[in-house]
Amino acid sequence: MSGLTLLYTLFAYVAIAVFLVGFLARIWKYATTPSPLKIPLTPAPVNSVGVVYRMVQEVGFFKSLFYSNRIIWIGGYLMHIALLITIVKHLRFFFKTTPAALAWITSFEIYVGFIFFGALAFLFLMRLVIDRTYYLSLMQDYVLLIFLMLIAATGILTKYYVRTDIIKVKQFVMGLVQFRPEAIPGDPIFIIHFTLVLLLLIYFPFSKLMHSGGIFFSPTRNQVDDAREVRHVTPWAVKG
């Protein structure tokens, strides 16, 4: 086992561990922090089925954003859909026999990487062009966009231009998944791609990317509007 392989195997496990522990710790914190008062944003659904429907609309279609700012919605929605498809299609590296559905997705995903990159670039541009978001943006907003753009760019490179040997990549990834380290492919573009992804995983739980889990815990969206019918109590807040 070469030094590079050892380094990256350890790096990958550390990154995945940090991501898992960090992410779940945040989720644990969100889930256990009490919500003493009913604060759903009305008009809100009056039963939990309605709440599920509302969350599906929010998470699946970004409904609030659509009614708020359609330009950002277009960029953001394209970006997230492309990201989802990209992640799903990368799952084929994790299964020994590629499921038929995954293979079917791979057969038409060819432009998704470009859409992902384009949408990110669009969002980056919008941050600079609109004076309000330019004022708001922090370093980490730009850093994350650039990070994702680099990941997309190196991914596109390995797929279309500077081909990498994906059998080796899969072997390496399967090795990680099965705790049976294999040699990392020595392709520099792939290594950059992989490094960036691991760094992103490490940064994930400490960043605004937690919105992916946090949105499910937003009280204004996930509460049922039944304050008059059902008494809502939280241990610390009930004294009589």
Binding site: I110, Y111, F114, Y160, Y161, V162
Partner: protein, 239 residues
């Protein structure tokens, strides 16, 4: 002869760099097909001697076998590269005769003009071809062809008699290629070779010494639908 590996890799590199803009890179390769008005030394053509044709339809059969042209047994969508038509002058008592109809390999081919993606093109040697990997199946060429020479592959084909060539791709336009794989090897098209009555003659029209050029020079040949001014490469004698 042949390209050494270094040149090939260089070419590959050039392609890669030149096509960074979009996926599907290979299509951006500048092809060297014939530009309009360009003169070339070779123009392949064919002369059909109708006096010798007996309507035996061997050419149809041979063509199917050579080029894997699918036959489904449904007259609505069977594909034909060459077909032998019965023809009879609209005069009382006129005899029935036979005429093989195939792609006329026009110099100003309407199908090439209308093609949306330049999948149809005219080679430098005058052969009109369809790049099946580039065709989108819009069927504009079928509508535009004045000779009904084109077929659409309507359905997955199981015909695979000649394993040297691939099967027909579904959903795209196809037509007679003058058996371009044979012509490139220096062999005559299958129908010409196999015609039992030697009704078909194949050769270079632009070479004045070729057999075909001499037949044409006799002045007894004619082209189909000359009013369309598409300059076909297939000539008919004895109509």
């Amino acid at each position: 002869m042949g390209m050494d590996r270094r040149t090939f890799l260089k070419l590959g590199g050039a392609i890669v760099i030149g096509s960074m803009i979009t996926p599907g890179t290979q299509y951006l390769l500048a092809s060297q097909e014939k530009k309009p008005g360009e003169k070339s030394k070779t123009r392949w053509g064919m002369v059909v001697d109708l006096n010798k044709c007996t309507g035996c339809k061997v050419c149809e059969k041979v063509c199917r076998e050579e080029n894997n042209v699918p036959f489904y047994g449904n007259k609505r969508y069977d594909a034909y590269w060459i077909r032998v038509a019965n023809i009879r002058q609209e005069l009382p008592g006129a005899p029935e005769r036979y005429i093989p109809l195939l792609c006329q390999h026009c110099a100003d081919a309407p199908c090439v003009h209308v093609c949306v993606t330049k999948a149809s093109f005219v080679r430098k040697d005058g052969i009109v071809l369809v790049d099946e990997h580039r065709c989108i199946g819009c069927r504009y060429c079928v509508v535009a062809c004045p000779y009904r020479a084109r077929s659409i592959i309507f359905r997955n084909s199981n015909t695979w008699t000649n394993k040297e060539l691939p099967r027909m791709m579904i959903g795209v336009a196809t037509k007679c290629t003058f058996c371009v794989h044979r012509v490139d090897k220096g062999v005559e098209p299958a129908c010409v070779e196999k015609c039992p009555h030697n009704a078909l003659t194949f050769g270079n029209i632009n070479d004045p010494n070729s057999k075909i050029a001499k037949i044409i020079a006799e002045g007894k040949t004619q082209v189909l639908r000359p009013e369309k001014l598409v300059r076909p490469g297939v000539f008919y004698k004895g109509l």
